[in-house]
C-alpha cells in the first residue's frame, strides 16, 4: 500500500495486481466462522485499492501455484510457506502482466530484512533475477539501499523521493502512513497466507502424507481451513464442524463424502475423508457424538450417510475424551 502511494505521489499511474493462490487469508474464512462475524468481511486488497484510488486486478493462479508449493526450488520457511519461490513466481506473473498491458515497471512493498528469508539483502536480487523482471522491479520503500533500477536511471521516478527502510521495525512505515493520512494501516506481520500458519501446515502435511502425493485440489485446501481435523488411522480422517458457520460450509461438501450427523442431540456435521471400514465408521459416530450436545448421554443416535446408497442410523456411546488421543488431532 505504501509503496504504491509513494509512486503515486510522483504522479505515476499505478494499478494493483493481486494473485489468488487458494491459500490467501481472505474474507471467506471469516464468513465461515461465526465468531468472526463482527470483523468486516472485506477483501483486503480491494479495500487498499479503493483507499488508493487505483484499479486492482485479481488473478487466479490456483493451478500454476501448485508447482510452486509442491516443489519449491528454494525450499520452505518455518512452515510450508515457500515464500521465496512464491515471490519469484508472483513477480514473474506481474512481469508477464505488465508486458501484456503496456505498463513500464513493477513495484513491490518489500523491505530489506523485514522477513527472515524472503526479504534479505541477498534474496531480493534473486527475486528480480529469477522472475525475469530484472531491473524493472523497483522497491520504493528500500530503493535507496539497493542499486538504482532502470525506472530510476531513466528518470521515470525520482530516486531522491524513495526510501531507505530496512529491518524488522515497522516504525518508519507507520510514520510514513501517518504522513499520507492513512489511518487504518495494517499489514500482517505474520504473512499473507495460511501457509505460514503452523496448524494449517500440519494439516496440509498430513493430507500429503495420507495420500502419498503432494497433489491437491482447491477444495482440499479450502477444507483444511475449516473444522477440527481428526485422524484416527492413516486411511481416514474426520472433519468436524466447530459451529454453525462451519457446519453450513461443510454442508456444501457433504455429497462428496461419507458424512455423519447426530440425530438424538444437536451436534456437528462430520465429513469422513478416506476409506473407512465398518469399525471405523462406528468410531467416527462415537467421535461425532462426543462433539454433540449429547456428549454426557449414555447413547447418541447418529445418522450415517454414505456417498451412495441409503442412510442408516447407529446408536453409540459418545467417545470419552481420554479415548481420543491428542495425536489424532491434526
Amino acid at each position: 500500500m505504501l509503496a504504491a502511494k509513494v509512486i503515486q505521489e510522483q504522479g505515476i499511474h499505478v494499478e494493483g495486481i493481486n494473485f489468488y493462490t487458494g491459500f490467501c487469508v481472505e474474507g471467506h474464512t471469516h464468513a465461515i466462522r461465526r465468531k468472526d462475524r463482527a470483523r468486516p468481511k472485506r477483501n483486503n486488497a480491494l479495500w487498499v485499492a479503493e483507499q488508493l484510488g487505483i484499479r486492482l486486478h485479481i488473478v487466479d493462479v490456483i493451478e500454476e501455484y501448485k508447482q510452486v508449493l509442491t516443489d519449491p526450488k528454494h525450499g520452505y520457511g518455518a512452515n510450508l510457506n515457500p515464500c521465496l519461490d512464491c515471490k519469484i513466481f508472483m513477480v514473474r506473473k506481474a512481469y508477464e502482466w505488465i508486458r501484456e498491458h503496456g505498463f513500464d515497471f513493477i513495484i513491490t512493498g518489500e523491505v530489506i530484512g523485514q522477513r527472515p528469508k524472503s526479504q534479505r539483502a541477498d534474496t531480493l536480487p534473486v527475486v528480480a533475477k529469477e522472475s525475469g523482471a530484472g531491473d524493472l522491479l523497483l522497491r520504493p520503500l528500500c530503493a535507496k539501499n539497493l542499486p538504482p533500477t532502470r525506472p530510476e536511471r531513466e528518470g521515470w521516478v525520482d530516486r531522491e523521493k524513495l526510501y531507505d527502510f530496512s529491518g524488522r521495525t515497522r516504525k518508519p512505515q507507520m510514520a510514513l502512513a501517518a504522513r499520507f493520512g492513512i489511518r487504518d494501516y495494517a499489514q500482517p506481520a505474520g504473512g499473507c497466507c495460511f501457509l505460514t500458519d503452523p496448524q494449517y501446515s500440519r494439516k496440509l502435511a498430513d493430507l500429503w502424507q495420507a495420500r502419498g502425493t503432494r497433489a491437491y485440489e482447491l477444495d482440499d485446501i479450502l477444507l483444511l481451513k475449516v473444522g477440527r481435523h481428526i485422524r484416527p488411522a492413516p486411511h481416514f480422517k474426520l472433519i468436524v464442524g466447530r459451529e454453525e458457520g462451519e457446519n453450513n460450509f461443510l454442508e456444501g461438501y457433504r455429497k462428496r463424502f461419507l458424512h455423519l450427523r447426530t440425530r438424538s442431540h444437536p451436534g456437528p456435521l462430520v465429513l469422513v475423508d478416506g476409506t473407512p471400514g465398518e469399525a471405523d465408521i462406528e468410531l467416527a459416530a462415537r467421535i461425532a457424538a462426543r462433539y454433540s450436545q449429547g456428549r454426557t448421554a449414555p447413547e447418541v443416535e447418529v445418522e450415517v450417510v454414505p456417498r451412495e446408497g441409503e442412510p442408516r442410523r447407529l446408536r453409540v456411546p459418545p467417545l470419552p475424551p481420554h479415548e481420543l488421543p491428542e495425536s489424532w488431532v491434526i
Binding site: 493481486n18 489468488y20 481472505e26 474474507g27 477483501n43 480491494l46 485479481i58
Partner: protein, 76 residues
C-alpha cells in the same frame, strides 16, 4: 439490451470477483451483468470491485443464501 448471467454459486471469495472481472472483460460498455453467488463476502467485494473499475451496481438482492448482484458495465 439483454442481460448476461454469471453463475458464481458455491465459489468462495475472491473467486466470484475474479469470475465477474473475467465476464466483464468480454462485455461492451452499458451491458448488464447479473451475478448469482452464495458467498456473503461477495456483497461487499463485488460492489467494491465495481467502484474501483467504474461499473455501476444497479441492484443487490439477497434471499437466504442466494445473492444476485446486477451491474452495468462502465465505459473503458
Amino acid at each position: 439490451m439483454n442481460a448476461h448471467d454469471l453463475d458464481a454459486r458455491h465459489l468462495l471469495c475472491p473467486l466470484p470477483v475474479i469470475r465477474t472481472q473475467d465476464a466483464v472483460k468480454n462485455l461492451a460498455p452499458g451491458a448488464i451483468l447479473r451475478v448469482h453467488c452464495t458467498d456473503p463476502g461477495a456483497i461487499h467485494d463485488i460492489p467494491a470491485w465495481c467502484r474501483i473499475h467504474g461499473h455501476e451496481v444497479l441492484d443487490i438482492q439477497q434471499e437466504g443464501r442466494d445473492i444476485r448482484i446486477t451491474l452495468r458495465v462502465g465505459s473503458d
